[in-house]
Symmetry: C3
Amino acid sequence: MLPTQPVPVSALAQRLACEFRGDASHLIDSVGSVTHATRSQITFVVDQRRANEILASDAGAVIVRAEDAGLITDRPVLIHDDPYYAYALLAQYFSPRPRARASVHASAVVEPSASVDPSAEIGPLVYIAPDAKIAAGVRIHAGVRIGRGSSVGADTEIFPNVVLYHGCQVGERCVLHAGVVLGADGFGYAPHKGQWTKIPQTGGVIIGNDVEIGANTTIDRGALDDTEIGDGVKLDNQIQIGHNCKIGAHTAIAGCVGIAGSTRIGKHCMIGGAAMLAGHFDICDNVVISAGTLIASDIKKPGRYTGVFPTVEHSLWRKMAVKIRKLSS
Amino acid sequence: MLPTQPVPVSALAQRLACEFRGDASHLIDSVGSVTHATRSQITFVVDQRRANEILASDAGAVIVRAEDAGLITDRPVLIHDDPYYAYALLAQYFSPRPRARASVHASAVVEPSASVDPSAEIGPLVYIAPDAKIAAGVRIHAGVRIGRGSSVGADTEIFPNVVLYHGCQVGERCVLHAGVVLGADGFGYAPHKGQWTKIPQTGGVIIGNDVEIGANTTIDRGALDDTEIGDGVKLDNQIQIGHNCKIGAHTAIAGCVGIAGSTRIGKHCMIGGAAMLAGHFDICDNVVISAGTLIASDIKKPGRYTGVFPTVEHSLWRKMAVKIRKLSS
Amino acid sequence: MLPTQPVPVSALAQRLACEFRGDASHLIDSVGSVTHATRSQITFVVDQRRANEILASDAGAVIVRAEDAGLITDRPVLIHDDPYYAYALLAQYFSPRPRARASVHASAVVEPSASVDPSAEIGPLVYIAPDAKIAAGVRIHAGVRIGRGSSVGADTEIFPNVVLYHGCQVGERCVLHAGVVLGADGFGYAPHKGQWTKIPQTGGVIIGNDVEIGANTTIDRGALDDTEIGDGVKLDNQIQIGHNCKIGAHTAIAGCVGIAGSTRIGKHCMIGGAAMLAGHFDICDNVVISAGTLIASDIKKPGRYTGVFPTVEHSLWRKMAVKIRKLSS
């Protein structure tokens, strides 16, 4: 947000603890994409085939693997084992998250029994219920609602209009985007004579550290036990996570995914957009689920799983559909 | 939320009007799951095969069917035709919903022409528009917006940041979870020379009694007539219901389902997560639609309907996809 | 919303600049559907087969194509090349959008450096951040949050609890429905040793003129460049649009669609409900994508594309699924 001072390439190399070649004094003020980077920007390349694009670009400097360094000799290069990761670190350096400005906005409503660290920032028109706990360095933007007895860990940022029900715990350094709802009742009813009798949902929601949750994503509270999201999990927008799910650390889930209740997902999984996981199944560590795929059984072996109908022109699809219907006879 | 007094097993049996066996005076203070229930908790079993788990558990008492009562002789049993339903009733008894505390928070904005029953609870930073009507015992949490002329029936609870547009009617004893939007415009446009001309959406939304609506679910207002949700309908999170839909009483719909405009769904239907119903179709009573299934025609016969591609390891899926594409030739 | 004065059929024909037949003085006060229209309502017919329904209806007048005018002789007809479009124009005439009442509600929080046109309407409990710009005739409903430096063009209406992050631009005459989130961070992380390192999202969101965005739809800000929605685009509810997408003018997208990052969609496309577009692909102009279809490659030829498994009774589906699984062998 704030303009950052330009720094010489050599200082960036020092920051990344990596080697560099070329003009040490060339000044860089931000990161850029391969195709749009300007003279004062640094970009990265991980694919040798894109080296020509770099040469045709205005990029002021490039992060490359050692084996690709020889391809780019007309401008400074930083040599790093993992150029995309190094690029991410520099992007964070040039665009740091704003820190909390210790303050409670005059229009916020904070119940007397809530505990708010003096270093936290409570924005306009926020409501913080009794017995809630807001730790040091937390930023809470306009219109957020923190429920009774819920807690927010240090340095977490909560964007506008997020809702935490009662009894939710959010870890440290998390980011919750606008419209997120944590702790709504799980979908639990006992059928009886054609009607549904509600099962009270008395568990909570526990979010680990370094978790990011995308806009309008919902995570239900547990029925009896808690719903748990592990450390370092990254959730995109519009995801629904049912009651009692457990998501393992460092798993990443793309937008529009639905996860029915009591699903356990391992660590280091990747779930593609709009995938749907029916409930009460276990997914082991290191599983990749393709976009649009429905999972309705346990997955016990790491690997990638897919189940989507191939997309074709509609007239061809009609022919395919007729033949597939015949498979049931 | 509040700790409940422990009660003897005999009192629970009396409450359920059912038989019991074993120590009448054993004290119970809450419900628990088969595997985690403690000495002071009651659980239930509907599957004979799980009786062994009960015997290995600490559960203080168990609700069982008459035919299973003989399997559990080491602790008190309540004998009920429908153990899961009986369990739900006891769970409600031990975790009652908090009642409205008659009050209007000082930070709420209530227009003078709105009518708010004195027994209702209006939370912080709520806005209630002109001519809205809030009935007795209603609880409205922080940040809710009630539109012009909308009405909320007795004992309904509305969680934070819900939005009701103008002209929406919500019945009695409903629960609307955070982020629900009722009465946004339906998606109606007339195409003309490559552009879209909006059709004003002048109908309303009518929600019956005892309806529960999950977090961030949206229900559009009708184009001319109303969108109608029948009594006892249960909607999970992140559902989209288009304009002029009619959902029959006691139908349950899981998360992430999309229902396009003018769809009529019968009574006592169950729709699995992420199913999609294309618009202008009729689904009769007692239909079950599997998760992830697309419905694009009327369903006139009760039963279960499915249409999902089987999920397999990605390398196998590639082979299947190639063969399916060939079906179009 | 407000009752409109009845007007003679001849005045409506004059307004549409079209021919009419029948009683010029018959009074019309609103539009209605073919089956429910009353004596004082006008409806339309585009399908000759529905002419009999008109004759059996109470509709006071009918908009028809010239070739169908002879079928309806018992009441006034307006003759128009595009009856549905003409109907939309009359519906807008009878139900005009309320105009902004120049005002800032006392409970709104508007930062001093924000610029709000005196003709704009700022509702209760709204927050407008520093350096935001609100143009003439804008209506902002209760609980909306406008981020730092964001701008809203003339005559745009923003319904309750919408969130604009910093640096979002919304054009003129747009409608943003409740719960919309513009400008949350895109889903961008660099993987490194089993963990995810965030790539700061420093682009913005640019929304053209005459765009409508449905309830709870989310549009992420760009990673470096902007996410762009073209003029006249219509988005239904619960849509997710990832970072750096570009949506061409006058494209319409139905509810629950997910569009992964860096997807480019052409002009005049139509995307059916719950379709999913995997990222980094280009869809050309004039493409129709069927509901529930997954797109995972470029589309370079206009036309309709489909990829959904045919839905059948569950027992038949089981047989089909077994045979399809065999295709992988």
